[in-house]
Assembly symmetry: C2
Homo-oligomer: 249 residues x 2
């Protein structure tokens, strides 16, 4: 029976602008006498990617608009965070202090993915990487240079959903694998031709890594071992439903 | 480093109305000289739960309405499947041959979760279990009777999402564990108090099982080993966002 395992990478430590994430991961693994194997995937939370890329904004540097101040006071939010969230995306819905935006990348999420947790205690916020697919490509190439074989990379973030409570990890950047398992046109064991079975495996892999690397722990990366991914040029951008096909935007 | 593993349960075979799923799983494991361990979770696709509960409708028994026929012809759909999908839920959106409904349980999904794959080659469709939380409870209690210890049960289905392409497995029934990991009010390593970190781990666990048990294989159940779940009375129903809090219904 084929098993799939989620193995957290422990010991990466604090990530600072300019840091080499591939080197940090490989050093952390070596210290625990572990290593990447062929067939592995690595899932990295966007937080350390954004930090390495310097996508950090000190709240003291932000001058909120009057509109952002009025809205934030009503819901006891930090108007500076509101200001950044609004400027990083266009508003899709706003209700009871929650702002759902569409970011420049096309992601629909709360507050444009701007987040103050796991940064520096509340003085700064982290933005999403400017181009998470490109960030994934960069990390993917760096790992290949070190290892001599290709390890697909998924960059993840926690997004809310319509209709369902709670956050789940999703893939916001991908390199080295297809984001989908495509069963369309294949037949089930009863001979029935499957119609709409396009499975967003990159999101499920991000979620699996999220289970192994809890929010409160310092485990920002996770190896997925044993999943038969489909290699190839994949982009997380391809997981975004085009606006004209979307019934909920 | 704590690892999490997804272990498919192979050899369950064809499930028929009235079958005892707990017994089928335990027999399948025994044949492979495997067993449940304390701390395990089991994820079961709703398809075999619905089959065991007789939630199967032969399409030949369905008389579609004129409206269902007209809509289906336009998009080359089976009007009998359309008829059942419409009668199993209320319509949330309809566009280009896709019907998004809210089921009696409160799930928002395509075609009320009615599906012709992995049944009998297209002659019948399977409905969602009538009360998936109760189905999970029943299975949970049966496993406990056999094993002498409690194994949380998640019943899963593949749902589409707003804004993102592709399906992911989600939890539609739960017993023996909380559906969330709740970090609200906890502090990150920098001392920052986390605000909205309610993580829908039951959905992530369903997705993880989905990765190990592909759509085309006969693997309708999966053990998750190593995940530190929170025991307690949990319901998948609690993962549904209340209508009045939902900005997209």
């Amino acid at each position: 029976m084929p098993e799939i395992r989620a193995i957290p990478i422990d010991g990466i430590g604090e990530v600072r602008p300019g840091d080499d994430l591939a080197a940090l991961m490989l050093t952390a693994l070596k210290q625990k006498r572990r290593a990447f194997k062929q067939g592995d995937i690595v899932v990295v939370t966007h937080k350390i990617v954004s930090k390495a890329e310097g996508q950090i904004v000190p709240l003291a540097s932000v001058m909120p608009s009057r509109k952002a101040v009025a809205w934030s006071q009503k819901y006891r939010l930090d108007p500076r965070l509101t200001e950044i969230a609004w400027s990083e995306g266009s508003i899709v819905r706003q209700h009871h202090g929650v702002t759902i935006t569409e970011t420049a990348h096309g992601f629909v999420c709360a507050n444009s993915g701007v987040d103050a947790s796991n940064v520096d205690g509340g003085a700064s916020v982290v933005l999403l990487p400017r181009d998470p697919d490109q960030s994934a490509q960069k990390l993917h190439r760096a790992l290949k240079r070190h290892l001599g074989f290709a390890v697909p990379v998924i960059i993840s973030d926690s997004f809310g959903r319509a209709w369902r409570e709670g956050l789940t990890e999703v893939a916001i950047g991908i390199a080295g694998m297809k984001p989908y398992r495509d069963s369309r046109g294949a037949r089930d064991p009863y001979g029935y031709k499957l119609k709409v079975t396009l499975e967003a495996v990159a999101d499920e892999l991000a979620g699996m890594a999220g289970l192994a690397c809890g929010k409160l722990t310092r485990l920002p990366a996770c190896i997925i071992r044993g999943y038969p991914f489909q290699p190839g040029r994949g982009r997380a951008r391809d997981l975004i439903r085009a606006r004209e096909r979307d019934m909920f935007r």
